[in-house]
Amino acid sequence: MRVGVTLVLALKSLARHRVRTALAMLGIVIGIAAVIAMVAIGQGASDVVQNQIASMGRNILMIWPGAATSGGFSWGAGTTVSLTSDDTEALLKEVPEIRAITATVRTRTQIVFEGRNWNPQTINGTDASYSDVRDWQLVDGDYFTERDVIASAKVCVIGLTIEENLFLGESSLGKTVRIKNIPFRVVGVLARKGTSSYGSDQDDIVLVPWTTCKAMLQGSAFRNVDQIMASIRSADEVETAIASITEVLRARHRIQPRDPSDFRLLTMTEMASTAKDTQETMSTLLAVIASISLLVGGIGIMNIMLVSVSERTREIGLRLAVGARGRDILQQFLMEAVLLSGAAGLVGIALGYGAATLTASEMAWPVSISWNIMGIAAAFSCAVGVFFGFYPAMRAARLDPIEALRWE
């Protein structure tokens, strides 16, 4: 019998028992819908995290001063003054894997413009490479230059949050703001970066030359920096870059082979992989839930198919009498089971997708769903039909025509 004919036959037979068909599908519909909705919401959340990590810049490696230890007592991370801007230059020179490197000094204080004031989350003293390392473009003006850094120029680049709050929507370019009563000219405005993975507003930022920050805002004569950020040429070279950087810094800081380093290294890749691990745990959980719901749904289908086979015994006998072979009967019932589960899968996908979209608009949660997942869901529901439909179909195919025709 041709597959097209079988398909029509199966469709008609399912259409003859609408309520039963709907009930048989229900288990798989609910299972698939739940999984699709959960995957969509989970994937959406994970995308946000990955985007935020990516927004830090490409292949970023961060170096912080290590913990100062005196007499076995640790003062905690960042309590040494081990990193300097000279380290930055040395690393750029000696580690070829570094594409760009920037040093940062952090401080927090008020910024004032014409009677309005604002307390930015961070004021970063940095250098001209910052935009390059963090892959952060400007919407207005330019970055301060290397010359500005050397000259400790009183210039600054501000984030959009600052511009919005101090300038109330007007352009800030060329205006003068005051930080610790020192006038800074705004030379550039950063493009919007959004919320970071920890929930802080990345646009609530002021960048000034680190020399200016050190001398004027912190009043310090030292050349130490709070953080060095390096952008590595490619993801493959991150490992070797870590090794080279460690070697160079330990040599420069004259650390004995057995002593611990006086700095810490963290890569964005590590953060990303932590986030990925979390997501994979989620995925495993989802897969388990999906399997259970498909199993339950599949048993539901098998149940209904068995009922259908025994109820239609005479029909099967008749079909056999008029020339159907066992395999024609097998094909017909298998097709019914696959249609049932496949259609249930599609309805489930649609429902799950609808639920996810509704969540997205009602709760303002990000959701994202890939065609892949939908394809897998559809394929799995069909597979469930084949698997759980096979036994009932086999029973139908093995019927003896005489016995079947005599069935009451």
């Binding site: 019998m1 004919v5 008749l318 008029v322 020339g323 072979r325 066992g326 025709l405």
Partner: protein
């Protein structure tokens, strides 16, 4: 009417038929066919050595009481069952040892079946019921299936009922749909098992008249009945008792 009695192990005895259908080829030729079942602890032997020949164009009634073996005989003739021993030659081909799938193909090509219970699919139009056998074997295109089913329904006098479901038809009409279904594959033999058993006498008479008419048009028909008055309508009758042909009558 001249009669002949067949005994177990005897030569195929169909003297009356031979006269009537002389020169015509045999469609069905059973030679000493036996059938044994095992039901629990006991062996049941519904057929104890039956030899019978049906020629093209005959209308044969197999008559017998319940449990006489007449239905088993019809099942074997219809290739729904295989003989335990003996030979069955159908249209010149030995079909006594064919596989299940081969038998299905033989049934599809050779026979049309009519049952006492009609065995129509419920909630399915008369047209679709008649089309059913055309779905198997090597199915013709949809259009041709429709046309052939429609033509067959017209032939049995139901041209105005093709969209009716069995539930909307009388018993006689349902049996006509079943006959149309049996004929749609252009079988060489029509097999009917108690075709009037579920009908009132008027509808039953009409169905029998339809059989006679189909037979006059050249169709070979074998029908099974317990009712001597139904059997009497057939030109040739075979009486079965205890798994043996005990009487053969016909012209």
């Amino acid at each position: 009417m001249p009669g002949a009695v067949s005994r177990p192990g005897a030569e195929p005895a169909h003297a009356g038929a031979t006269d009537a259908a002389a020169g015509r080829e045999a469609v069905i030729a059973l030679d000493d066919v036996r059938k044994t079942y095992r039901m629990g602890e006991v062996d049941v032997m519904p057929l104890r050595g039956v030899s019978v020949t049906v020629k093209r164009g005959e209308l044969v009634a197999i008559q017998g009481a319940s449990g006489s073996g007449k239905t088993t005989l019809l099942n074997i003739i219809g290739c729904l069952d295989r003989p335990t021993s003996g030979r069955y030659v159908l249209n010149g081909r030995d079909v006594s040892r064919l596989s299940k799938d081969q038998l299905a193909a033989v049934r599809h090509q050779t026979f049309g079946f009519v049952f006492q219970q009609f065995n129509l699919l419920g909630r399915t139009s008369a047209l679709e019921n008649v089309e059913l056998p055309l779905l198997y074997g090597d199915p013709p295109p949809t259009k041709e299936r429709h046309d052939r089913a429609r033509a067959m329904l017209e032939r049995v006098g139901l041209g105005d009922r093709i969209d009716h479901h069995p539930g909307q038809l009388s018993g006689g009409q349902q049996q006509r749909v079943a006959i149309a279904r049996a004929l749609v594959t252009k079988p060489s033999v029509l097999l009917a098992d108690e075709p009037t058993g579920n009908l009132d006498s008027k509808a039953g008479a009409e169905i029998l008249e339809l059989f006679m008419q189909l037979n006059r048009d050249g169709l070979t028909i074998v029908l099974v009945t317990h009712d001597p008055s139904v059997a009497a309508r057939a030109p040739r009758q075979i009486v079965v008792r205890d798994g043996l042909i005990v009487e053969e009558a016909g012209t």
